[in-house]
Amino acid sequence: MAFNPVRVPISEQDPKVRAHNFDEVCLGYTEEEAVLEAGRCLTCKAPQCVLGCPVNINIPGFIAHLKTKNFEEAAKEIAKFSALPAVCGRVCPQEKQCEARCVVGKKGDAISIGKLERFTADYAASHGFKVAEPGKPNGKKVAVIGAGPAGLTTAGELAKKGYAVTIFEALHKAGGVLVYGIPEFRLPKEKVVAHEVENVKALGVEIITDVIIGKTLTIDQLFNEYKFDAVFIGSGAGLPKFMGIPGETANQCLSANEFLTRVNLMRAFDPEYDTPVHVGKKVAVVGGGNVAMDAVRTALRLGADASIVYRRSEEELPARVEEVHHAKEEGVKFELLTNPTEILTDEQGNVTGMKCVRMELGEPDASGRRRPQVIPNSEFVMDVDMVIMSLGTSPNPLISSTTKGLDTNSHGCLIANEETGKTTHDLVWAGGDAVTGAATVILAMGAGKKAAAAIDEALSNLNLKQN
């Protein structure tokens, strides 16, 4: 079978235009483009792409439906495996997952699986397809803590099996990092996130916002007073890290979490909303991950001259290649092999500059990564008036510290079985960043899926014993 080695290109907003707006950068495939791209798939008998997907979506299966323009069936096929395809199609690092294993990719461009998944989900949303059904009620109740990707997935899976599921969310809106972290220009909140949350609710899942487990209610109360049969913790890793350098409590130095929460969740970029956000003229974002790219591109859109400051070289940037590429196209500057040592301030506590040193990469350490080391006498002052720290996050100790029998490791991550998500507490499972520390949306979903299966198995066995 002849195959086309070149993927159907995707339309994007012009970098010059999009650098000044919050509209989605990638415009997605049209129907014709999607069918054309689907036509490149070889429909392998032993598909490798599926193994690269953390939730093992039947990729050739849904793509086969796209080839025949059977979009509803394609959406239903994806829904068997994933609760949030419109999200994952947009934010998964496909180049390291499904697309990395695509056979076509060995001789040309891999099939654009993410963009096809996204097209299918968007098409299903705009045509109002009902892709999944709630299961027959089995009389059992499961509480899910956190309405992020892990929690939404677990809840959806359990609802499909007939459980009565309640999600408790601390913020006023469901979605977790999908609503407070990832910006509008990568993941539209109303069109995409709100719609996927509605899909989970349509399975009968109840979402209660403004409830902080560990404060408003404890896990013990969920069992004793509210009679839940099991609890899943998907509370993420939302605790920001700071560098601990002098001047870090300056007025215009803030965590990427704060900056992005103000802009994304509180919609500070829209004058109709009350939450303020301060944006400097020259903004440095310290870090090189996806969150750093999100923060720097957000600062740029709010009018700043924005730079990434990262202590290793471009090759080691942990962010997705696509995001780095987009950032550069939009005019983000990169100060690589550079590390801040002090934030300089005036008498009012305002940022007036950032003292940095230049770095070089030394010998590989035990983990195989080349360790950055300071070049002597390389100190210089970067001209900035705002600094955003994007150094990663760790799990919030609120839940573990208020629940007996729930153990954490030295990083504050919940200890849970890798395959089942079972914690050290008899009736509590956990998954996502709360267990792994900051990782990806799709890994959180994969963990949620496994935990849902494990919870179902445990509660079904319990049933057998009781009978």
Partner: protein, 296 residues
């Protein structure tokens, strides 16, 4: 949505509201706070819990309209609803969680400034209900600004009131009144809790340090989520960075860097000034003309 079941104007500039929030009412302890969001467009603002009624499922908040969001909240009437009301947040007061025998040894004075009287009240009430005596100092600029006096009198062993202009009670500020109590009336205290504006807490702490009285303050920095995920509320205590929303809001007042905390409180002064003006003028003012005093 959370219903306002009672609204009272305590004085010309301070409001009290009882909000129906049964889970918060049941779990809140003295020293903790809540975050309220007026409308879907609203910002999240922290307010201290002033009282709870678990049976009725209500939480009492007391606030002084100082900016756009509190001015807007003050316009809500009984029966109307706010969009979010989440809590309880922060750690309960040490007096509540410490060993009772240790608390019994404490000769406590609470020092409240202005609207800070509200967060002091539940702690004094808790002490009273658990059989511990304590003295309370309330200070304000003038007589009209004193709030919750009768409520406080009912739970405090001794209540001392002062006003800057002498229109009621002792003439002077809380620091001067404290000095008077210790030096002229021979009162002895070995534990102080000070809650009020940052500048008042700073100076009260300088005074208690002079008398060698261990002092707790309740800090009120800028907050967003209130759950420890952003660090907007970070303060420096004993040279270490703390998040007031999860590590506090109560800290050892003698170790707090108040100057740093006050600088951070002013971060959004310009934006807030614009928004206040916009709110007062019905959102017709867009700022940026550079001629407004509020912009500075």
């Amino acid at each position: 949505m959370y219903k306002i079941v009672r609204k009272e104007k305590l004085n010309p500039s301070i409001y009290l509201m009882d909000i129906l929030a049964p889970l918060v009412a049941k779990s809140a302890l003295p020293g903790q706070f809540i975050i309220v969001r007026n409308t879907e467009f609203g910002e999240r603002i922290p307010l201290t819990v002033a009282d709870t009624n678990p049976e009725a499922g209500t939480v009492t908040i007391v606030f002084q309209p100082v900016g756009a969001s509190t001015l807007e909240l003050a316009q809500f009437e009984e029966g109307e609803e706010v969009a979010s009301f989440v809590g309880p947040l922060g750690r309960p007061s040490d007096l509540v969680t410490d060993d009772k025998e240790e608390v019994a040894k404490k000769k406590v004075v609470f020092i409240a400034g202005g609207v800070g009287t509200a967060p002091v009240y539940p702690q004094v009430k808790w002490m009273h209900e658990h059989g511990f005596d304590c003295d309370v100092i309330i200070g304000a600029r003038n007589k009209d600004l004193i709030i919750m006096e009768d409520m406080m009198r009912a739970v405090a062993k001794n209540l001392y009131v002062c006003t800057d202009d002498g229109s009621y009670g002792f003439k002077g500020n809380v620091t001067q009144l404290l000095a008077d109590l210790i030096e002229n009336q021979h009162k002895e205290y070995n534990h102080a809790v000070v809650i009020g504006p940052m500048i008042m807490m700073k100076f009260a702490c300088l005074a208690t340090k002079k008398y060698d009285i261990p002092t707790i303050v309740s800090l009120n920095p800028i907050m967003v989520d209130g759950t420890g995920m952003c660090g907007a509320c970070r303060v420096v205590v004993d040279g270490k960075v703390k998040f007031a929303c999860v590590d506090g809001p109560e800290f050892d007042g003698h170790l707090v860097d108040f100057d740093q905390a006050m600088r951070r409180q002013a971060i959004y002064k310009t934006e807030e000034g614009r928004r206040k003006l916009a709110f007062q003028e019905g959102r017709t003012h867009h700022g940026g003309c550079g001629n407004c005093k509020e912009d500075k």
